[in-house]
Symmetry: C2
């Protein structure tokens, strides 16, 4: 994904004022901190890396802003310092402890191993290494133990950031799995434009404006009209199975993250005309009984989860609740009335696709390395 900050601002997403204040107030540069590189600094996730590093007061002794030759030489402000964006090359990683990668799968595939060989710990936001054996796939709240053997200064490594839909689903489902063991998940997603990049967000805005003005929508990125419409996720389809890649990521990544090859998952992934937070309707089957009260208690105790579950006022999570927020929002928690037993629950989950779905999770992985 390659969104510039300007493109994100133009997308109608509310500016994160809290984080701007923090940007001025804090400076986390310390002599003891790791040497960081941000790969893909001009992208939306690259920019969000900076926001999150500041918000979390992440310590660093140096930070290197890396991008393609096209952006090299441009300036990047960060925590009161003006940095010059450097061209990303094979030699970018000799003096780097942690490299946050978000420059697309092909760059990760080429330069991720180079960075690791040079001694850096790569936290990779692409799908390049997620299913590679030996590469930990980590949601810090869920499976930090998967990366416990990786330490700064003890050699390079690659750690993969899961796909946004997987992270958002598992933030809500993992606490319930720990109570009653999930046997089967049936997920329908409501996915935002941001997952398909800046141009997709701009396409949604432009088409919407055109349709409101009575003009025909002009699909470019997606073959379908996006304004006031929705469609099956645009990732490539396994023609034999009939599942698309986004759906299979949910299946395969969950198995790896939970270290549970038996977990049964079916998913239908749908792109809806929303800017940057995903929603997911999740039906769960458990091995053991689980009550609504137990579920809510487990969710409330889980870090990174907020509950909006006000039945009286019909108030539950929406994508806008989650937009620019760290936490994943969970609601509609209820016993599945299609079952006679107490082994089924339904829930509705929203999470920011750029934040917990990407940049925040990666920075949290980096934080684990500091411990």
């Amino acid at each position: 994904m390659q969104l510039t900050r300007t493109q994100v601002a133009r997308s109608g997403v509310r500016p994160n004022r809290a984080s701007r204040r923090v940007l001025v107030a804090k400076a986390a540069k310390t002599a003891n901190g790791p040497r960081i590189a941000v790969v893909g600094i001009t992208g939306a996730v690259g920019q969000e890396f900076l926001t999150v590093l500041t918000e979390r007061n992440f310590p660093y002794s140096s930070i290197k802003m890396l991008a393609s030759a096209r952006s090299a030489g441009k300036k990047q402000e960060f925590e009161g310092v003006t940095y010059t964006i450097e061209e990303l090359t094979e030699n970018s990683f000799n003096d780097v402890d942690i490299a946050l990668f978000s420059a697309g799968g092909s760059i990760s595939k080429t330069l991720g191993p180079v960075a690791a060989k040079a001694g850096a710990i790569v936290v990779d936001n692409s799908s390049a290494f997620r299913m590679t054996e030996g590469v930990p796939l980590v949601i810090p709240e869920v499976n930090p133990e998967a990366m416990s053997h990786i330490k700064i200064g003890k050699g390079g490594a690659i750690i993969a950031n899961p796909n946004c839909s997987t992270i958002i689903a598992l933030m809500a489902v993992t606490p319930l799995d720990r109570v009653a063991h999930v046997k089967r998940m049936c997920v329908s997603t409501y996915q935002a434009a941001s997952g398909a990049g800046a141009a997709a967000m701009e396409e949604l805005r432009q088409q919407t404006r055109d349709v409101l003005d009575g003009k025909p929508a002009q699909p470019k990125i997606f073959p379908q009209q996006y304004a006031f419409n929705l469609f099956s996720h645009n990732s490539s389809m396994d023609v034999a199975l009939g599942y698309n890649e986004e759906e299979m990521k949910l299946v395969k990544e969950t198995r790896k993250i939970w270290n549970n090859p038996k977990i049964r998952i079916t998913a239908t992934c749908v792109r809806v005309p929303v800017m940057r937070a995903h929603a997911e309707s999740i039906n769960l089957e458990f091995e053991k009984d689980i009550s609504e009260a137990q579920a809510l208690e487990a969710l409330a105790a889980f870090p990174g989860v907020s509950i909006i579950n006000d039945r009286q006022n019909n108030r539950f999570p929406t994508p806008l609740d989650a937009t620019t927020k760290d936490n994943v929002f969970v609601g509609r928690v209820r016993r599945d009335i299609s079952r006679d037993d107490n082994k089924g629950l339904d829930l509705f989950v929203c999470g920011d696709q750029i934040k917990k779905g990407a940049a925040l999770n990666a920075v949290q992985i980096a934080e684990l390395l500091l411990k």
Copy 2:
């Protein structure tokens, strides 16, 4: 629902040119046809009744346009004749064979029985009588037998039109049920603005314009922002169960229509920023084995269903495909990979909420009365 034709036109929905041509070309008035009344003629469904009557060349010897006192005296063009809208009263039904009601639940509750007592067969689009014992709840392609005892000229009666989400789901699921018997349905909906009326459609348009212009969205009908957002369906919630009315309609109406009190259903109903066609992601568990090929064959043979299921080109139904169309569109038909057996399928369904979800289904019920 009370949308005027102008409001519908303003909503950005494409005008149905084909039906306009038909409007000029056909005249179904015959000496032998039934005497019809349209109750709620100024509403979106009332207007759609007229479009559908013409499109289907529905025969009638007379047609009466009924609305509240506010609209009485206004003119209504229909098939080349200018009618004067009459005030709806207890005496409106003495010379009526078929009364198509779509003026809200409270008017149906009050005047539906009055019309039936006067000898009219009421086809009621509200939820007032759907679950009333003795009132057939009919999707003509699914359970025409439920109303086979009702005949024109043999006394008045009430026949209920199911809820839009139920009709759209069952058009897709009934042919599969007939092949392999559905045991359990898990549904997540993506519902259009039109189901909440004209003001909701206008709210979506206005808020979207405001957000694009950088202004704050002003929620009126819905407590949540609707532009570039989505939220749990706004129908009233069963606080103990945690299911809303829209979801319970799917459960209860399906049981009645299929005459199968054992069918297990869970649903999550969600309002998305789309104008007038609903989408539904449906996971099905069957008693018997069913292959994708069997499912597609059954769907292709079922009247009123169109299949869009092109895995090679990632082309599946969207709300815009269904907008103003009679048929319900089905795709993403695939074996549920969360199961080891061949007793599970996933599918994605889209249908026009005003047409098959309301007016068309009611007119089809009226057509059954002509046989």
